[in-house]
Symmetry: C4
Subunit: 190 residues, 4 copies
């Protein structure tokens, strides 16, 4: 199978996830600015999740730019990634409506962690299919951001029960770390 339709389907799912999350921010009852107050944490959480989906779209795009063929394992590893990403609206909604409480913050981190593990599995499947000496194999050999993210997400989940505010800063920090597109991949592709 070619990568085209897999990319198009993933793009569709990611576009819907990123847009559906905004439904968590429902219009308040009253028309005073007071009524907007409870929406603010929902909005901030939405922006964070929006950035994360943007990062995944970006990394997903970079990954499949370097891939030629898709086999059954890659296909299901990709669906596995989409499954965990599709939980973002739920986790975002719960966190946004419970202003920085311990449990929603832990669940949010857990979804981030599971999505990151799913992305790592997808990368491993791709490398197995393309070989360790392929573009993608060489790039991810020296990639430390992915492993750091996993550790930081896990730390964020655990810290949620003590200082949820610290967890949220970690989640934001990891996002900022990823916003810069990976120069190694761009270089290797050029």
């Amino acid at each position: 199978m070619k990568t085209g339709r897999l990319e198009a389907f993933s793009d569709g799912v990611l576009a819907i996830i990123i847009t559906i999350m905004v439904l968590g921010m429902s219009a308040p009852e009253g028309y005073h600015f007071e009524a907007l107050k409870p929406v603010i944490p929902s909005f901030l959480t939405y922006v964070l999740s929006f950035i994360y989906v943007g990062i995944y779209w970006n990394n997903h795009h970079h990954l499949f730019q370097a891939v030629n063929r898709v086999n059954g394992k890659i296909l299901w590893a990709n669906l596995n990634l989409l499954l965990w990403l599709s939980l973002f609206p739920f986790a975002t909604d719960w966190l946004g409506k419970n202003h920085f409480e311990a449990n929603p913050s832990a669940i949010y981190g857990l979804v981030l962690l599971l999505a990151a593990i799913a992305f790592k599995i997808l990368v491993i499947c791709v490398i197995k299919s393309d070989g360790k000496d392929s573009h993608i194999g060489r790039i991810y050999k020296k990639d430390k951001r992915m492993n750091w993210s996993l550790i930081l997400y896990a730390a964020g989940v655990l810290l949620s029960f003590l200082f949820p505010i610290v967890s949220l800063c970690i989640y934001l920090g990891v996002a900022l770390m990823w916003i810069v597109p990976d120069p190694r991949i761009e270089k290797t592709i050029k």
Copy 2:
């Protein structure tokens, strides 16, 4: 008509179905883990339906890879399939919110059954158009998974009224049977 736009439209509908289903899992009121408990069966049902839509996307993709031209009958057979697949969010939501009760389990199985029949009709339309000696004709001639699925879904619907838990195991079992991509089609295409 070429298959391109039909595939793109179907991909769009499938991407939306798979993502919209997650809206059935609404964020709970409280912020304790207790509040998450009623969400767990919704989540498990969501994962099962997610796998099913993934399977349909995969099989749909394989089917149309082997098709060259689309006529009016194929077009409406395809829309018929999409109609039944679009009921997945409804059936998933009802099953998830009524923890393994008889009726929601029967309706869920009925939707699976009707979608499977719609897929079989689509395959028959394609074979009629391409001829029995075409790739797709030869592949589905020896296909026993499709007929087995129909029988198992029907059994699942009936068993719902006695042991809903058994029905759910059947639905899960059929899904696992399909996760492996059909090697016959992949071979024939290569």
Copy 3:
């Protein structure tokens, strides 16, 4: 501008409309079959609207297959069509939840009528751009189905206030009239 991106955007909007309509069928509270009863009219209305969106997708596809270039007028005529089609979920929801009452049936017919007028405007814009002797000009010159639909929708709206059940039969009848793809266009294109 080429037709490609306009078709892709319209496909996206139509795919979302056709899928979002199913959200009007919310899972009932209880888990008995009794609880499904109020969902049945919603389901039947959903199927009717699903067929209509399928018809529009089909006709839209046929129309733009015969078009080469898109100008500003065609672009806005197309957005005008999408606007009225995007009201299908609303009209479907209201009709489905008010089992065949006069007013929801009139509004449903009105949305059908306005969408049909928008499609006619789009066809006129395309013919103006391509010329009366173009493929599409010749096809729609002898097209009586479009004008008949307009008359029948208008009749349906008016009859809603007397016999809503008759209006619904008219809406269904017009849909069936369109399910057969237009052989004149298929012929002219070939």
Copy 4:
């Protein structure tokens, strides 16, 4: 990176935004025309937002038709634009449900303003990448509509607190100003 996948992803997000906004217009409880009355302002606001998303889709399309390559800055400037556009359903819903009150009207104008600033940033990133003498550089050098829009949106936000009805007229006026596609870009491309 080529512009293709960025355009496809943006198209997907815009198609979903334009369609999801209609969910703000929920079907009324009763079945009398009386019950439709509170839906009318929601409908009018929906039409206005629909036109705006149509304009952004159109301008976005024109912009990227003139662009050859996408770098990381353009990618994130584009996601920034999509973020503010994704707030349209929220702002539309709040304005539509609070018939032309001061605060919802101000928030609606603020979202328009921030989306317009995001579009300006995107244009600047594109010009930086393509050079001032590029097609797009020359076009936007003499563009006064973009700056006028920013001023008018800001005026609309401030006037909301005095005469919300005037603000809404401004928002409508700016939309009408943009409906005509920019002849300078079309000319330059040809």
